[in-house]
């Protein structure tokens, strides 16, 4: 079994004395692709931010985070408008005073299909290109743990699927660990090897589901019979989370 990168036991989170999350027991193992899913307002983003260390637990009996490098992709691309795409991507390296290798940068651009766009400024990019750049920036430091908060939610369906394909390929090639918040059941199913359902108010983990899909996934996977069967299963699970509240 792969080692745990992140472990939380009995995690509680309160905002202004209102409990948002209760009794969170979760382990993220090296190489996991975890999707966090649940009805709107259940605290998916809060849980992601807690796992990433951007928020602190109100109480917990045990929290462990291995000293692993992390990166975060926000809902908005968050590119700096005065920097070119390439300069935006190399920003984490500059901050962490790591050597900047042009070949490495070019490969990062290629990985997200942004070859030749390095000299463009953010205002010259489409929404999909900005999100790709944001992904490339998050991956440039080769993080062990990548957190993603509904990164593709503002994109149109074809661009979204294209980016899902690229993300899945990157994860298969690099075998890093990804925790991904989404509203989309099909996105969660296509990308993740673990789908964690949150439900209730305050929210807790309702189900930790492992879809029965092949590890290698591509466009064909989305139209396969097994994909639809699994989609039906997680749709039922999601319906139950809504019934709980």
């Amino acid at each position: 079994m792969n080692e745990n990168l992140l472990q939380v036991q009995d995690g509680f989170k309160q905002f202004n004395s209102k409990t948002i999350l209760k009794k969170i027991n979760l382990e993220i193992r090296r190489g996991d692709f975890v999707a966090l899913i649940g009805p709107s307002g259940t605290g998916k983003t809060t849980l992601l931010r807690l796992l990433a260390g951007l928020e602190t637990w109100s109480t917990s009996s045990f929290v462990e985070q291995k000293n692993s490098s992390t990166s975060f992709v926000f809902q908005e691309p968050n590119l700096l408008s005065w920097r070119t795409l390439l300069e935006n991507i190399q920003l984490p390296l500059e901050i962490q005073k790591k050597p900047i290798n042009q070949e490495h940068l070019n490969k990062s651009l290629e990985a997200v299909h942004l070859e030749g766009a390095g000299t463009l400024f953010p205002h010259e990019l489409s929404g999909g290109m900005k999100m790709r750049a944001s992904l490339a920036r998050a991956l440039i430091t080769e993080p062990e743990l990548l957190f993603m908060d509904e990164p593709f939610s503002a994109l149109d369906e074809p661009t979204r699927e294209d980016l899902q394909d690229q993300l899945r390929k990157i994860w298969e090639a690099r075998a890093n660990t990804i925790v991904f918040v989404t509203h989309s059941l099909s996105e969660a199913l296509f990308l993740a090897n673990r789908i964690i359902f949150l439900s209730g108010k305050p929210a807790s983990i309702f189900e930790d589901y492992k879809p029965n899909l092949p590890k290698q996934r591509d466009r064909e996977t989305r139209s396969s019979e097994i994909f639809f069967r699994e989609l039906s299963t997680i749709r039922n699970l999601f319906q139950k989370t809504k019934e709980i509240g």
């Binding site: 990433a52 926000f74 968050n78 005065w82 962490q96 205002h123």
Partner: protein, 244 residues
Amino acid sequence: MNRYSFLVTLLILIICEGLITLLEVPSYLLPLPSKILLEFWTSKNDLLAALLETSKHTTLALFFSSASGLVLAVLISLSPWLRAGILPLAQFFQTVPIIAIAPMLVIWFGFGAPTVIASATIVSFFPILASALQGIESTPKSSLELFKLYKANRIQTYLKLKLPLAIPWFLNGLRISVGLAVIGALVGEFIGGGGLGSLIDSARTQQRTELVFAAVFGSCAIGWILTLALDLLQHTLLKKWLQN
């Protein structure tokens, strides 16, 4: 100034010329536009010397207020203690009329350029401080979190994020301060001597209303040229930077 505003200005001047002549308004009250134009030519040496002096004072004051405003904005944003201590004081000084403290400036700095520069710096300082501070503090939370995740230190966060983001705000403050700095310089010159302020004052005592008007238009030109220079700087150097 575009073609239409030039035509409108010309039309207003022609109407003024006609009305003043028709109503026989004494020239010491309201001179004819043609006489003001003539005065520009007759007193060109005095006007140009005064204009250059006031321009120099105004530009120096803008430099000092920009530098001090920006540095103080950074310091205030760094420390809640400084914010609580300095910001209310700066806001209080903003409300003190410059004309009321100008005589004190003469006592402190003596007659001439130092008083004029101090006067213009005082009035142009606050908009720069307020705008730069607002710019620094308007940094999106998600960008700050991004820098936090990459373990950026305070200097990196300021140099690579907060200050570049504050530049458009700072330039907006500077644009407001240009007009105020000209006013501050003229007030300083009324009291401390020199430049267009002194020229206006002496022309007034001699009832040379044409020269007063010519000097007033000269002071407008300083503000106009400085704003134009600021626009030019913004559009050429910072075009890409400010595109979003």
